[in-house]
Subunit: 355 residues, 4 copies
């Protein structure tokens, strides 16, 4: 008869489907971390640290505001800029649409069209190119399911070129798509799966969709970022083989990300900042000076860690309607992709063909 | 031809499936709110406010610790006690099991058995009694889906008494169950649906399952509360008709609740408390005295509101593995109910018959 | 210690979520059953039995064909007509749209609009009337999930009249909705739940949505029937209390049904009919006469039963794409209802507000 | 402005998620098809065609019956045997468990254990081998979702060997798993994805899980087949590159299949056979002889096609409880795999670690 597995083994098993936090992750210094997902927030943070610099050398920025949608293009041009801002060199386009949370369908369509327009800068391909869309994340965890949802909604055509070539040819590109799951469900690094598929399918471009974390509440579910620098899962040892980039895959990788959660640490940190600012303003005498002088960044970081201690960086903060928001924004992204990838498709077609 | 609805109407529509926050809700003073879901936390809070009182008059408490499970029984005996603690009179039993997050299946079974034992105090019914289990909450929002999940997992028997009376009779009680949905999905108050079903089905006892919010991170997904005082959705005007209690339904109502979320406000408040405590300890001179004297409860409340402002009390904080936790704890609750309601059922049966 | 439940008990338990077939159901003579869901098929069957009658007395029929949609109105006017056709007296409107299976979104919209037009005959209510929509069926069984899906997609407004009366008033009716589940999941007859809700909510009209079975393959997922006679779950003993009708609920009940499955028995029967017809045509001499004379309706019924014996009437026949079809047709029905119930809503609004 | 896509294009699009029937598929002669999924049924069919042969040369069979479970091992030893039976050479083990439909949990466990025992013959690997489990099929179509469900339930360990090597080492094999989706969702042949993953992950064995079609009602959801010959998606032109076999992947491929549907054609065919047999017995004189002589296999095939014509081979026949059955049998298969792959795991462990 078989001998039962030691119960302590069971208790130590990581919860399936969670992203396993390595010791490095846990120690990740979120307060001055180089890993801020959104370039607009990374730039704000970098400027906050050095408020004397209005501009960051090597980091170019253009802003364009139109009705309800503001578009920011941040170009990280040099390695110095990359270090300053904590993002690898590349072009980061961000659509910020605070009203997206109101579920206005006309606005949703306009965002899809604007997203398609911005995407066209990233997708400069011949008509007969093949595009592989990768939906990163875990379909069982709603805020992480953005990528898989986009893949489910996308109009895939690659197989139609052989099944019905007489109708699909004109004005459609060949598109295929995969949601590879997460390490905890498959035991395989996402990058290993994607590399294998890329080697066999030989796309001209990979577009990777991922859910992000925002540092500012108002950006959650209201922001879409496009980047031509691929996916970088952090700078930890051994992590570079997990990247999805031109270096690791051999083809250009465009990343589309939407922040669906807020770091719980952000709330704790914001609360402390606000309290400190409040005290500085309101405590009479030289108390304020004392306080700010005494209270270092490191102390704050330690206190934030203490607040969140029992569940660690495993907490996520989401709006209550996260389920609807993720579905809606996945639909917008899929529609934007359909419009951008297929020259023959207009908005009505995209509405029909985005599932 | 029909005239299109004004777009501003669409934008003002509440998101479906959300619990609509009334102005009263938004103004809800969470920092000294009487509405803390867990009696153990309400008692801690009340004692914190009046630290001179070790005991709160009219509130009796017993604690019992065993391996990995601690059981607390709080008996709110008087109206004065109810006012002091902010919970209506009744018996509140709480199982706290911090290790429940490690997914140890043996522990899960032990918790189900302990829950059944505690439930037996609440379910003192003749063998031929009829029990109606109500699964409150929205099945589309994971942390709110506890109630519907328990209903899906429960062994319902009421119909079997007429279909196969020869086998079901001995040792089974008649149990039926309903997940009535939420106001945003149905347009009907949960209490209206439950009242209608109670009038037609005429149960001897209603057991209502609901997801709660905790104020302390370590209690999320690790705590089960049983109460004989029913469900009270807040003390707002007109809210009493929404209650599920012996007064509104005409039959006793036992509530089983599990905290699956943390108030985002809690994190902000905890962060400020920790920072204040830190400053008090570390700022030299009489600065500390100044600070604490100056900084009132009202100010803190206002600051917390400011931190969370863009998404208001619409934020929820959950562990990343919320999907698995809710399923697991729903299964434990269903198993505990099956064991408690059917005298003939042992643990092996419960494992088979809990879906 | 508790004694384990006899294993034979477990084996005899009906599968949860199945509609429990009573002995009457099992013996149900489908070949000359009065219980054909679709009135158009019941009429065809009745005429087939008496081919000499082009018209059935007491049963009036009008047909209207337009592009891709054919609309049939069958008015069962007398009890004699009801007996002849096997449907209770009332008006049955059927939309048949064979191309609905091709997922043409323009056609789907046109069907929603036509459905709304036909529904307007059934929904003659003052502006301030309250309508309760009931989604019958089991959300866990795809072909049976039509009703719950419609309820999830519907625009419910009843609660908005108290939350935001200033905007909802004009041109909207008060609509609420419920998917009560099935007996196997709740232990409660659907009719008991609905009766309770009707008594508490007091609607002016109930609209019940249900998945049907068709006898002809080409009608599956391509047909919508509206009837003003409510829901009749078969004429078995005791079954009348399960009906949802004006008699049982005290308010008019309109039923909307879509066939999502085909009786497996239909295939067996069709195969035999085709074979007999083939033999009659092709077997020379007087063999054919022999065959048809010898082979009675009863014999055929017995043979069909024999073919399906191991799984009995528990088999259903569906197209492979049933999941997509049910979602699509649920969306069409919800859109048609939204258009019909709210005078202020045009097609664009309905597209936005149907989820 | 973009020009709208021709509507006829939309109408011709295959339904997403369906397996696209090529013209070859549609013409597939199911009545004497070489493509019967279950070897036990292929052998029965081959013997039925040549009833004079009790044994089929090159096809060895052993049967073993025990309580409620019968195990058949069919060894197709020669190419002649393969042609006779229509299955490629290899060992096919079938567990038939008619009572599996009664949801008896003890029986389910026994079947998982028996499956593990039979699998051990197919999985003769060193302790440090790596196994890749592929869950074929479409997770959106219940009867096709068996493979993805098994993958979701499996205990994957490959990543744990690097995260927690100190506890996972002893008695566990390295297992990873993937549900690659279907061509209609991804635009990529399953075999292309699997090949890419195999090249990157380099497993020692691939185990592919798939849902099958049965020809006999009583085998649906009551049968598990294991084969060492891999997955062969039909013999059509170009189809061999879609196979998952040692030839295409470079590593041995074990296939585990469970019939979850019945071909609709089977019902029609069975009905005709039964009617013909009935007529032969009961029609007096020489009618019977006439009939059977006149009615050829080809005619029957044509008639069956006529019965099913409107939805073609797109129909599937399933029991009404298909959703529960597929989940249950997926759990049994996952538990059997967990037991077979990890020497350290006993039944209690498998119950804990199978999700």
């Amino acid at each position: 008869m078989k001998k039962r597995i030691d119960n302590r083994f069971l208790q130590r098993l990581p919860v399936r489907g969670s992203q396993f936090a390595t010791p490095q992750d846990v120690a990740r210094d979120w307060t001055d971390s180089p890993h801020i997902d959104l370039a607009v927030e990374a730039r704000e943070f970098a400027r906050g640290v050095n408020p004397q610099h209005l501009d960051i050398p090597g980091v170019d920025m253009q802003e364009h505001k139109e009705e309800q949608i503001s578009v920011t293009r941040i170009h990280v041009q040099t390695e110095a800029g990359a270090r300053a801002i904590g993002k690898v060199p590349g072009l980061y386009t961000t659509l910020e649409v605070p009203d997206l949370r109101h579920k206005d369908p006309d606005l949703q369509e306009r965002v899809a069209v604007r997203l398609a327009e911005e995407l066209e800068q990233y997708v400069r391909l011949p008509q007969n190119a093949l595009v592989l869309v990768i939906g990163l994340g875990n379909w069982n965890v709603t805020p992480d399911a953005l990528g898989p949802f986009v893949v489910e909604s996308l109009f895939v055509t690659r197989h139609l070129f052989s099944i019905m070539p007489e109708v699909i040819g004109d004005g459609f590109r060949s598109v295929c798509a995969l949601a590879p799951g997460v390490l905890g469900l498959t035991g395989i690094e996402t990058s290993e799966i994607v590399r294998g598929v890329v080697e066999n399918v030989r796309p001209d471009l990979v577009i990777a969709i991922d859910a992000l974390a925002a540092r500012s509440i108002e950006r959650v579910n209201a922001t879409i970022q496009i980047a031509d620098s691929g996916i970088h899962p952090g700078a930890g040892v051994g992590n570079h083989r997990k990247a999805l980039t031109k270096e690791t895959l051999g083809v250009p990788v465009v990343a589309i990300g939407v922040p669906t959660v807020l770091d719980a640490a952000t709330i704790a940190s914001d609360a402390m900042d606000l309290l400190l600012a409040h005290l500085e303003k309101n405590v009479p005498g030289n108390g304020a000076g004392h306080i700010l002088n005494q209270f270092s960044r490191d102390e704050k970081r330690a206190l934030v860690g203490e607040v969140l201690q029992p569940l660690g960086n495993n907490l996520m903060v989401t709006p209550k309607e996260i389920d609807e928001f993720v579905e809606d924004v996945a639909h917008i992204v899929a529609m934007g992709l359909n419009l951008a990838l297929h020259p023959a498709m207009d908005l009505d077609d995209a509405k029909s063909l985005t599932h």
